[in-house]
Subunit: 194 residues, 2 copies
DNA sequence: CCTGCTGTGATACGGCCGTATCCAATACGC
DNA sequence: GCGTATTGGATACGGCCGTATCACAGCAGG
């Protein structure tokens, strides 16, 4: 056992255990003991690196946000279609469980969601760690040629809120990913009709 | 038959305590003891009328759904504007916290939401107790004259999902009720333009 | 009148929780 | 090479949880 371990790395490994537990069985299954067991370390270690449970939950969420933003940036940079429509579509499909990683993110967010409104520290982390995507989409829509009378802010608000909810509906089996993508593309067609 | 007391009535009173606790402090604050204290009865009584905690949570949710459907029916019957647009608007504004009763409903739903995906019995109650409103809206849109190329199913899906999410955003203070109503009316204008 | 079922109280039990404490092993600065 | 800060294990503590048990009041039907 090395003397000098990489705290940051350790914390990320333990946070990943939080993600797995929260995604599979909800936040109420995330206890210090369960996290330790899932991460393959002792209870004491989890205490050692995070001090308190609230801290653990907040940091695990922050790490998840970081990873999400990196993923979004990477996907934006990598895609061939750099049109406004293409960028908007990429931003919105980040909110859907289209691969295991995005599905994990969504499940963890769902697990955190309720607690977010009864625990102030979690609420802060939940709200402040992410840039409001509505503003981004609104700006992008302003930059494009839309049909007469189209209102970027109202369009962005419903798109973001709707796709966010439809992503959760996919998790819950109320819709398939294909159905949601069809709905999304229908609305993009409507907005960006040539 | 019951000896003295009205079981149904008792259960509803206790369920109301569940609502209050869940709305204020989340589902994790709903313990048998807290519910008993909030309802002003003994722990034993809660056990007596509901047997188990899962039962308590499921029935409390069912009562809430019942009340919501009655409220929707009443509002639909009472409103002067019986046009398709008017009915669609009423159905959708039922999803927003526009008065204390709808706000309570929304807060309770938010509290239940996460647990819904880790507890099978709650999941069943959550999904099966409510008629899928998307189908209703889709039918209504089919019945109306929409702009060329408008697709009722896709329009209904985004409207319902979006307004559902925006209602929660109002609870969280990310939007005001006025902003959300403006977004809703913008989209209704778009669909029902004369 | 008594037997028995319904309704209610007080309290006990075992379990998991978050946190705290005590202690052992390591490896670097000196 | 030795002390000491860092890293980690084992275990204890007090609290709340869901559920179970024991006791008992009052009305019902024989």
């Amino acid at each position: 056992m090395p003397h000098r371990t990489d705290h940051e790395q350790r914390r990320r490994e333990i946070a990943a255990a939080v993600w797995r537990l929260a995604a599979d069985r909800g936040l109420e299954a995330v206890s210090m003991r369960e996290v330790a067991a899932d991460a393959g370390v002792s209870l004491r270690l989890v205490q050692y690196y995070f001090e308190t449970k609230t801290n653990l939950l907040v940091l695990a969420l922050r790490y998840l946000h970081e990873r999400g933003e990196q993923r979004t940036q990477a996907r934006l940079a990598a895609q061939p279609d750099q049109s406004v429509r293409g960028v908007v579509r990429t931003l919105l499909t980040e909110l859907l469980p289209l691969d295991p990683e995005r599905e994990l993110s969504l499940r963890v967010h769902r697990a955190y969601f309720s607690r977010t409104h009864s625990d102030p520290r979690l609420a802060y982390a939940f709200v402040h760690d992410e840039t409001p995507i509505e503003d981004l989409i609104t700006d992008l829509l302003h930059r494009a040629t839309l049909p007469a009378g189209a209102h970027p802010r109202h369009e962005a608000n419903l798109l973001v809120a709707g796709i966010t909810r439809l992503g959760l509906d996919v998790l819950g089996g109320r819709f398939t990913a294909g159905e949601v993508l069809a709905t999304l593309d229908y609305h993009l067609d409507r907005l960006f009709q040539a």
